[in-house]
Amino acid sequence: MTQTPSAPEALEEAAPDAAADHGDEHEHPSDRQYVKIALILGALTALEVFTYFESVHNLGDAAIYVVLIVLMILKFIYVVAWFMHLKFDSVLFRRVFVAGIVLALGVYLVMLTAFRIWGV
């Protein structure tokens, strides 16, 4: 069973005082920051692509998987948090989105596990 933060809290918290932590009051990241994030993203991508080339292959598949997954998650989080503003925006959005991701991860991973595609 997948567990996400319990809905009513998620929604309720977002409700009355959402105004406090979102919207026009907060500082938008500056364009410089955006560029910085983009550079980081580019660098992470480069790292990812690097694993494709022979030099790291002696690490073994398992290590490569781990590295790739970590890098992927980092990129994902950077885009979501900064470009999509989730870091600064209402918790409601975060919870809706995280609910979707967690649910998707939960059911599909269970499904693939039931198919035993992980080779175990």
Partner: protein
């Protein structure tokens, strides 16, 4: 993509609801409050709700006639009412119709009509999208049913297991209609889910915190979240099936290495949340009706809410209980067996809380109450047989037998449908201004209850005696004769009960003319929807309602003294709005939702028959979207916004939410920018209170 910064239309007394203007500079906008056009182009959530309900009832008759054909065929061994082929089509369409075209839209009817009213809003967040959902659902339903005349209906069972649903084994177009028709209906549900969640989150009346919402609103909210997350799963499954059938993809092609269980997983990841999508609205309705007729508040409100949410969550973790015998492996079986069992806990909490609500009450067995209590009783039976499926070893005997058929009819018919019939009797006066006849209603209830148990009770026995489901006939020496005959007789008793319900509508309508109006609150009820005139005026409420507690309306009528005694402090008529307000902003009717919805089945027909038709359909959709996007949600030429404060004493928010105007989102569905119809002005706490407390 354009923006509309003009404030929305507002009305003054005696004025036409909408003044004509033009769309695309060519068509004049639909106008008028009466006549078929006013229904076709309406964006009023109440009219949309009523049309959802009417369509669902129509499909109930279709699905019911299909059921009667099934029962005729099975009444005696070796029946020959239907051919094998016809039988397969009929039971498939019976299941599809009942699930997707009866119970779901019926729930949508209640959601549309009641959600905005219960939270004190003026409409839903995106009225045009709402209209689009209705027409889209209807387009999907009609599209599906045209398959009868176009070479045969779907014949792969309502869960369409691959590879039997593939082109090789199901070569007629039936399963194409299934895949595409459900896809269209799915779009309707998804759009509507987004719309209604936004409505609940964003448009509650001042003071209406989530935990002051009626249980029905809560259950509907949970259902919309389930739809939001479950529809995409079936969308993908149906796409895979369509691509296999139409374009030769290999998703379920065993020769190419595919595994048919993929379909089963995807279908049931959707399918199990779906069954809770079917039941939770009925649970909500029962949670409204039972307190009113017990004259007590709902027992354990937080538990009712949380158990609903818990069911919603747990519903995601049990899907493989439909696959206990399909070879998923003992570990998966064990895991899903246990997770399934524990769903009985939150459901049991609900059952027992209803009983506790009745405990110590002053029960009035009006028809609505009878149906609700009947639903509690019947659902319990289905739920308990559900638990006997959940113990997976036993399910290997039960699955795909009539024992399962008994289970799900008890939960769906006995729970969902009876619950919703209760809702019809309960809210009918609210929607139409007259009550349904109680005497006919009660007779109808008992006929239905008896017929229901006659039909589906014996199926438990049949199933345990080994009668498989989806069999066109059975041998005379299988020992199934007696109970099948009983079940078939029962089905016709049900039909009589349903018929009586329709008869009742006719009779009550006729009698209503000349009878005194029912008033805003015929049952001495609790929710905000009763705090306005019946039938509900187009603008719902005359003024803001500031909510200070649960059951706000009831508390304005009654005072609980320090001794616990309840005394009346006001008549409903004095508290409720009389619907005479003027100058209320309302969204304008629009052609475009209908146009866009019309394009979808064209695309689907084209995929089956001729891609040119798809092209035309796509053009219709594009044209519709174009018109939609460039049409302001409200009539722009009508007025300036300056007069708006004078005319709107409650300080309605105007077009504040309209910041962005119309914008496109995702899959090319335009999001309405017309968000201004909420009464909720300031935040829920701390804001000025519109209706002062002494």
């Amino acid at each position: 993509m354009t923006t509309t910064s003009e404030p929305p239309l507002q009305l003054t007394a005696g004025e036409q609801l909408v003044r004509p203007s033009t769309s695309l500079g060519v068509f004049s906008r639909p106008t008028g409050e009466t006549g078929w056009k006013s229904w076709l182009f309406t964006v009023d959530h109440k009219r949309i709700g009523i049309m959802y309900g009417a369509a669902a009832l129509l499909f109930l008759v279709i699905g019911g006639i299909e059921a009667l054909l099934l029962r005729l065929q099975l009444a005696v061994p070796g029946g020959n009412v239907l051919s094998e082929d016809a039988y397969n089509q009929v039971f498939t369409m019976h299941g599809v119709t009942m699930v997707f075209l009866v119970i779901m839209p019926m729930a949508a009817a209640f959601a549309n009509y009641l959600l905005p009213l219960q939270i004190g809003a003026r409409d839903v967040a995106f009225p045009r999208l709402n209209a689009f959902s209705l027409w889209c659902f209807l387009a999907g339903g009609i599209f599906l049913n045209t398959s009868w005349f176009l070479g045969g209906a779907p014949d792969g069972g309502w869960f369409g297991y691959a590879p039997n649903s593939g082109l090789v084994y199901s070569p007629s177009h039936g399963m194409d209609f299934y895949a595409l028709g459900l896809q269209i209906a799915g779009i309707a549900s998804l759009v509507s889910a987004i719309n209604l969640i936004t409505t609940v989150l964003n448009m509650r009346a001042p003071g209406m915190s989530l935990f002051r919402m009626p249980v029905l609103s809560w259950m509907l909210l949970v259902v919309q979240f389930l739809l939001l997350f479950a529809i995409p799963v079936i969308t993908v499954a149906l796409f895979l099936l369509s691509f296999d059938r139409l374009f030769g993809a290999n998703f379920f092609n065993v020769e190419a290495g595919a595994d048919p269980l993929l379909w089963q997983h995807l279908f049931w990841i959707f399918g199990h949340p779906e069954v809770y999508i079917l039941i939770l609205p009925a649970f909500g309705i029962m949670s409204e009706v039972i307190p009113v007729f017990s004259r007590k508040p709902i027992f354990g409100y937080p538990f009712m809410v949380f158990s609903g949410i818990a069911i919603g969550f747990m519903g995601w973790g049990v899907w493989a209980h439909h696959m206990f015998t399909s070879g998923i492996g003992p570990v998966s079986v064990a895991v899903f067996s246990l997770s399934t069992m524990f769903i009985a806990v939150p459901t049991g909490v609900k059952i027992l809380n209803w009983l506790a609500t009745m405990w110590g009450g002053r029960l009035r067995f009006n028809t609505a109450m009878l149906y609700s209590v009947g639903a509690v009783a019947m659902f319990t039976i289905g739920g308990l047989s559900g638990v006997t499926h959940a113990i997976s070893p036993a399910d290997t005997q039960q699955t795909d037998t009539y024992y399962i058929v008994a289970h799900f009819h008890y939960v769906i018919f006995g729970g969902s449908l009876m619950g919703m019939l209760s809702g019809f009797y309960f809210w009918w006066p609210k929607a139409f201004g007259y009550k349904l006849n109680e005497k006919l209603g009660k007779i109808g209830f008992w006929i239905l209850l008896i017929g229901f148990n006659l039909t589906f009770g014996p199926m438990h026995i049949l199933g345990l005696q080994g009668m498989s489901r989806r069999i066109h006939s059975y041998a005379a020496d299988s020992g199934f004769n007696l109970w099948n005959m009983v079940a078939s007789i029962g089905a016709f008793v049900i039909a009589a009960g349903v018929l009586l319900f329709f008869w009742n509508i006719g009779v009550s309508r006729r009698r209503a003319r000349g009878s005194p109006p029912v008033g805003p609150d015929p049952w001495d009820a609790r929710g905000l929807e009763w705090m306005t005139a019946s039938p509900v005026p187009t603008h719902n409420f005359d003024r803001d309602i500031t909510v200070t507690r649960q059951d706000e309306f009831w508390h304005r009528k009654w005072r609980i003294g320090t001794d616990g005694k309840v005394t009346r402090i006001a008549r409903a008529e004095d508290v409720a709005h009389d619907g005479s307000a003027t100058g209320v902003h309302l969204p304008s009717p629009s052609y475009w939702p209908v146009v866009v919805a019309l394009g979808l089945p064209l695309v689907a027909y084209g995929l089956i028959y001729n891609l040119w038709i798809t092209g035309i359909g796509a053009l219709v959709i594009l044209g519709g979207l174009y018109g939609w996007v460039f049409e302001p949600p409200d009539d722009p030429e009508d007025h300036g916004h300056d007069d708006h404060h004078e005319a709107d004493p409650s300080g309605e928010a105007g077009n504040g939410a309209n910041g962005g105007g119309a914008s496109g989102n995702g899959e090319g569905e335009p999001a309405d920018g017309d968000g201004a119809r909420q009464l909720a002005a300031a935040g829920t706490s701390g804001g000025p209170v519109a209706e002062a407390q002494p």
